[in-house]
Amino acid sequence: MNNYLSLENISITFATDNGPLNVLDDVSLKVDQGEFISLIGHSGCGKSTVLNIVAGLLNATTGGVLLENREVTEPGPDRAVVFQNHSLLPWLSVYDNVRLAVDQVFGKQKSRQERHEWTLHNLELVHMGHAIERRPDEISGGMKQRVGIARALAMEPKVLLMDEPFGALDSLTRTHMQDSLMEIQGELNNTVIMITHDVDEAVLLSDRIVMMTNGPSATIGEILAIELERPRLRLQLADDPTYNHYRAEVLRFLHDRHAQPDVPTGKPAKTPEVAAEAPAEERPARLKLATG
């Protein structure tokens, strides 16, 4: 089971107008099958770049990614991505968006009827069975993200990659989505790598939290194993000392040891790929529901 997914000494350098910019430096990580990994770090530290390299959307300058001991060279449905802004095709219905992925991945293996049922099954899984004929612009942000997740799950990926999947949602919707995701994860036991800015989200969902240092030349600073029993219940954990200890660990890493410099003076211009990664505003870590 070990070394299901392996990131081997990944470095990546982008050419910019101000000369080469080394975004990632020697990132190595081994992920077991069924493990839930969170990547956390300040804006612009290259979290999305890591994810894009695993997805195959970007190629590492040196080092590489092995999935089941095979090198990743191009994007593929075995590493499905849930994009931050959902990226549904706006002219297709919810059903057709998922069906497009199902047809593409299982077009040869499954019959028409099976593909139809598989599409519906995945939409039911994210509780979107009631709105399959709606267009993306007719549903809320949370629902769009659910469909995005259904589309990714429908590909039966070996690794599910999520790029701040709930970052654009309001906090109540976000908690719902996190609960849904835990429920699905408990059922399917996917291997997941998720980028997040949210400390609570990371602690609640992950088996391990990978904390990244600030860029440029970002790398993995610390890895924190979260040894909390599953299923995890948000309200019970709010007063759990172990849970709060983990939270504090992450907060200390982010805001003490690797606090982002107040004035990002020496920070070179972002490359388009990196710029696409992070929302400009820095979200402070919060205790949702737990404090209230």
Binding site: P77, V81, F83, N85, S87, L89, W91, L100, D137
Partner: protein, 340 residues
């Protein structure tokens, strides 16, 4: 989506018609009435003012063809043109009847007699000319679209090709139809040689001139639409490993359809404007030729008749544009886009 009664005002964007329906339904009677006043009376008042100014202004201009016609004379000529059309149609019916009777009589005398059926060769009426113009512009526009959309898609997908073709587009875009026409005429005469031509040369020349002038907005808009496709959607297609063709059909084309239709609408507007000039010079028997013939004719009615043609050209242009707008709304997935 809620179902409402079919409201023709809604589908044709005449706000006052919608309001009239709302009024008839007794819906918010007071509000509907005041909106009706605003939506219907103000444009009508402006129209009335325009007609008065026209009438007064025209009376003070005397040309070599007599006084500049006012609205009343133009209206009379409009009616006149319609009556001429009906009279011509009756003559045509009568001609075929006579021919039929003659042939019947001939066959009755001698069953083996050869009968000839000759087509009627009366001069085209104003309404025939309108039809010719519409067919010509449609032909030119369809040819232009068939060429422009694929070029636009390819240019949008390949920056290299775009760089190659862009200077040509910029070079030919501003060329007037009057400059194209002599070249098109000569090329058509040289190339289109056939004993039994299916189409009139003047028709082909006019249609191709329309094509040459209205191809550019569609190319440019399609290119922009295709090249500005959301990066994330491209990433989705990469993750799904869509093939080139599937990607084009499922993602690139749908994504660029709003821009494509915006271009098509501009193209049709330009095509209709260009058509009149092209028909004048190419002598294609449409509205352009009508205007030119009346100008050459120089009777006391000519100016009124030309003004009838001007108004008809304006109305048809407006209807074509509304038609394209409907098509654009129907094809556009982006509900947030405000189309007017």
């Amino acid at each position: 989506m809620s179902t409402t009664i079919i409201n023709p005002g809604k589908s044709f964007d005449f706000k006052w018609l919608q309001l009239l329906f709302a009024f008839l339904e007794g819906d918010r009677l007071v509000k509907a009435t005041s909106s009706l006043v605003r939506q219907l009376l103000i444009p009508l008042a402006a129209l009335g003012l325009f007609l008065m100014l026209w009438s007064a202004g025209a009376a003070s201009v005397t040309t070599s063809l007599g006084q500049l016609p006012g609205p009343a004379q133009v209206w009379d000529q409009g009616v006149q043109l319609y009556q001429e059309h009906q009279a011509e149609r009756q003559k045509e019916v009568a001609f075929y009847q006579r021919q039929e009777q003659r042939n019947q009589a001939k066959l009755a005398k001698n069953p083996d007699a050869e009968v000839k059926v000759r087509p009627y060769t009366g001069k085209p009426t104003f309404l025939d000319q309108i039809a010719t113009s519409l067919v010509t512009v449609a032909t030119g526009f369809i040819i232009a679209s068939l060429i422009a959309i694929p070029i636009g898609i390819i240019c949008g997908m390949s920056a290299t090709l775009y760089r190659a073709i862009n200077p040509l587009i910029q070079l030919f875009k501003p060329v007037s139809p009057l400059a194209w026409l002599p070249i098109v005429t000569m090329v058509v005469s040289a190339v289109y040689i056939s004993d039994e031509p299916m189409f009139d040369k003047a028709f082909i020349t006019s249609a191709i001139t329309v094509t040459l002038c209205c191809i550019w907005p569609t190319i440019i808009n399609t290119t922009v639409g295709v090249s500005s496709i959301d990066r994330d959607l491209i990433n989705v297609s990469r993750v799904l490993r869509l093939g080139w063709l599937t990607k084009t059909i499922k993602i690139v084309i749908p994504s660029s359809i709003p821009m494509m239709f915006a271009g098509l609408r501009l193209s049709l507007g330009i095509g209709w404007m260009v058509l009149i000039a092209a028909e004048m010079l190419a002598q294609n028997p449409g509205l352009g030729k009508f205007v030119w013939d009346e100008f050459q004719n120089g009777s006391s009615n000519s100016l009124s008749r030309i003004m009838v043609a001007v108004l008809v050209i304006g109305c048809l242009g407006f209807i074509l544009d509304r038609g394209m707008l409907l098509l654009q709304r129907w094809a556009t997935w982006d509900r947030n886009a405000v189309l007017r």
